[in-house]
Symmetry: C2
């Protein structure tokens, strides 16, 4: 392993010197790949824990063990994490808040499987398709883990279109992307999405505007501070590309480059367009003038009046949609949260109309001294992102996708889809919301269990007696626990009540059992008058507790 470490150090030096001398990019990429291979080899030899901060005792012996008999890595798969009870309490609060909004707008829910036939996902995600997880071919069908909830929903509609011509469905479930994780910012390989989509043929922009209203209600209810919903329209973007002279077959790839404007300065995006993607520099400069525009309704007038864009048929359709949209957004009281932003492009292939993305104020990547946004960088000597350079990014996004269902329905003799169900939807990236809300809370103050009564046994009371009382409580629907010991120590029982913030204790000793009594103690007060609890006949225990619990 020492030899390996030496080779890694040497290879690292090589990569750094190539980079600082601005060497040929392909050469650099090759050497970086070689470095990664070496690191992977080393990783296979060492347990992850040794590198992270698990307690020394456990991790040392674990790593010893590894050198010894079992070469076992005790960790989560990369980019995935466990959720502790406290984290689950926060996550479930987020879900219930969002579901409440979804239901308020008539949402019903549908569930689809975690994996789909591979061909269902093909050709839907543009350059991001490389991030799809495939299942191993173990005989049978080729399958992939879902990348989002939208494509499976469209597949569902194509299969069941007759019954679901009009549907507002929400779906809260995990999706999978082989992306570079930034765990503390909620950027993970397994993460939840909360989607709301409206499917059906309706008059323009009515469901679209309701999606923006739903998004606004969700972000407001989640209490995340101020936010901006950037909006743009695929047809306006396409019109811009047309009037700037982008060839039709380059439109999607140039659009992907524009989409990076929230992370990269214009100069870098221009470079990608011209050097990597071979766009005429003049066309790029023209695009640059448009895509750096943003504003509100007034921007619409300016674009209508733009000599070139105003005359472009595609752009005109988009502008007309935006005009109607602004009217509805005013009625729905959400205009103040929106920004008409021509730099927004969204990477996915399937959008056909309005697109949008919500960004929280104060969660953008850090700003550098020169006023530019910091770029996400990789930590020295690792292939991990330096998370201090990463912003939380958008917390929600969505748009209109009128042709996706048709892509699954097959074509008729005229070459048209057999089934067209236009859709518009929004997806809330709940892990990012989660990472923000967790930072606000003190872990110790999150109550993760709901126990109402702890049955405390004092000297000489058998486990059967405590079990019997619990059985009575459970039969009455009261949440109750007792110690799983034959002779539990009294102090340990009080400690559990305190640790789990259990409001009431039922206390029994040998005396009480004989007399048919129990004591009930309110654990939340230090009230001296109740001392060891107030006495009640055993037959009144349930009624008394129910009365007290109702008052909580």
């Amino acid at each position: 392993m020492e030899a390996l470490d030496k080779r890694i150090a040497q290879q690292g030096d090589l990569v750094r010197s190539l980079k600082s001398s601005n060497a040929d990019k392909t050469k650099i990429a090759e050497e970086v790949a070689a470095l990664k291979t070496l690191k992977a080899e080393r990783e296979a030899l060492v347990p992850k824990e040794a590198a992270t901060t698990t307690p020394a005792s456990a991790s040392t012996s674990k790593s010893e063990d590894k050198k010894g008999k079992s070469a076992f890595t005790l960790k989560n798969a990369k980019g995935t994490k466990d959720y502790t009870p406290q984290e689950m309490a926060v996550r479930e609060k987020i879900f219930s808040t969002i579901v409440q909004v979804f239901k308020k707008h008539g949402g019903i829910t549908i569930d689809t499987p975690v994996f789909e036939l591979k061909e269902i996902l093909s050709g839907k995600y543009g350059e991001d398709s490389k991030l799809i997880y495939d299942l191993e071919d173990q005989g049978g069908e080729k399958c992939s883990l879902r990348y989002d909830l939208t494509v499976p929903f469209a597949r569902f509609l194509a299969m069941n279109g007759k019954e679901y011509q009009n549907v507002k469905r929400y779906h809260i479930a995990k999706v999978y992307r082989r992306d570079q994780p930034a765990m503390t910012k909620g950027r993970m390989r397994e993460f939840y999405q909360c989607d709301f989509d409206i499917a059906g043929t309706y008059d323009p922009m009515i469901p679209d505007s309701e999606c923006l209203r739903i998004l606004t209600e969700c972000l407001t209810a989640l209490d995340l501070g101020d936010f901006t919903i950037k909006m743009n329209h695929r047809k306006i973007l396409d019109g811009i590309f047309e009037v700037c002279g982008v060839p039709e077959d380059k439109i999607r790839t140039i659009s992907s480059a524009v989409d990076k404007l929230d992370k990269l300065p214009w100069a870098d995006v221009r470079k990608e367009m011209t050097e990597e993607k071979g766009l005429d520099p003049q066309a790029a400069d023209l695009i640059g003038e448009y895509v750096q525009l943003k504003g509100g309704e007034e921007l619409l007038e300016r674009l209508y009046n733009d000599a070139k864009l105003g005359a472009n048929a595609r752009a005109k359709e988009g502008l007309d949609d935006m005009k109607v949209l602004f009217r509805y957004l005013n009625v729905l009281n959400v205009t103040r949260h929106t920004s008409f932003d021509l730099s927004l492009a969204r990477g996915l292939d399937y959008y056909t109309g309005l697109i949008y993305e919500a960004v929280l104020e104060g969660s953008a990547p850090p700003t550098l001294a020169n006023g530019e946004k910091a770029r996400a960088t990789v930590k020295k000597g690792t292939d991990e992102l330096d998370e201090s350079t990463v912003g939380v990014g958008s917390v929600a996004a969505g748009g209109r996708y009128d042709n996706l269902v048709g892509m699954f329905s097959g074509l008729n003799k005229k070459g048209q889809p057999n089934l067209v169900i236009p859709c518009v939807g929004v997806s809330i990236g709940v892990e990012r919301v989660f990472s923000i809300l967790m930072q606000k809370q003190k872990k110790e103050q999150i109550k993760s269990n709901e126990v109402e009564v702890y049955v405390v046994g004092l000297g000489g009371v058998s486990v059967e007696e405590r079990m019997k009382i619990c059985t009575e409580l459970w039969d009455a629907g009261i949440k109750a626990e007792f110690a799983y010991k034959l002779k539990p120590r009294t102090q340990n029982q009080w400690d559990v009540c305190d640790r789990d913030m259990i409001p009431f204790a039922v206390i029994v000793g040998g005396d009480e059992i004989e007399k048919g009594l129990v004591k009930i103690k309110d654990m939340r007060t230090k009230d001296e008058s109740q001392k060891g609890g107030l006495e009640y006949p055993r037959s009144e225990m349930i009624a008394e507790l129910q009365k007290r619990l109702a008052e909580l």
Copy 2:
């Protein structure tokens, strides 16, 4: 295909005439099976949609398309299904019922990822390991989809053992098995498990008995009819194998054979032991005498008094556990649901003590004319199971696994695990419960959305007016919808109210808007007195609706 249709019609007639003439049951079963095979053949020729109720136009062209240009298969991956809004309503009801019981017993919840490092799952599932789904090696770690929720929980405890020495955790999530599906019986490749596990070092059988109480409460609350929890003990089984002369290295594989006794007759299991697994036939016969025993507490005495078994140290430990268990089960009022059944073995490697499995009365596989249970058979000409030959099987199972956490914690110098956390748990197979409950319900009667108010616009009312009223309702927390059309037809709006069982309509026409009025109509009554709805000043709309909704 026409020829096939004719044969199906003829076969159908034959089955009906046999049934009406009260023919021999085996004969009827044979002919029903033949009919099903014919239907399956026809189904294979026609796309799914055509066989159900989708419009002929769509499905025909889809099948044309399939033969034509795109070889696209529009379907779910094998063994997986979508859940419709009605099904989701039933599923969520099941979950909330179970979670309520889990919380009553102090459960907290933890979530783990859908995939784990492959090596985490290795060597935990005995002969069933072949059913594990692997992710394709796309560079990086080798991962597999989780097979159950127990192994990931043990991995979590091994990683976080310091903080979670004692925990009652529940986890409701999907697991994955490449098994032969029987969809209508709830046997699928992607399915939910609802797990409750108690981790920690306690006095014997106290948490074990509470798990059985929890299981009893869940099955009772789900209202599934009568059920039996079969119980056995790994140490008793091991003792039996020892006294019957099974070599130590054959114990697990012989145990797997015993586990099939609920699906196969003893003769077949014996054959597997002797012919496939090379066990001495005399040993097999001895085993046969023991594993066909079942009963209650009295069986315990019989086994204690058994000359061979009573003298076996391992068996003795198991019998002592069972004796304590029966005492607690009596206190917990669950004895009447249990059966001490020596044929229960459970296939998984990791159990170390008490094991159990719950079976519903009346959901066993069909019984043949000769009194034997039917065996699951494969449909002729396919690799699909004939579901009419499959029982729903066990709806829940579990047991004690004291060494699983230690398997992840690595060994110390003395060769002992670094961390030991004994666990006992139960897993409810909610898909099977779901398939039973769905059969009981009429799909049309399941309400899948929660909309409280529909805003109906009559002649000349703009969409903005309806949108504005909805905005007011949403702001007040009322669940409301309106038609996404500029000029919706009146009848269509009433139809939505009826279809979705929406209790109230707010009705506005041009007149009402001018006068600052709305009409509110109770859609559930045909009460003539309210006619087109009762008039209210617009300013009182919210208060009136809130009053009426509170009375629902």
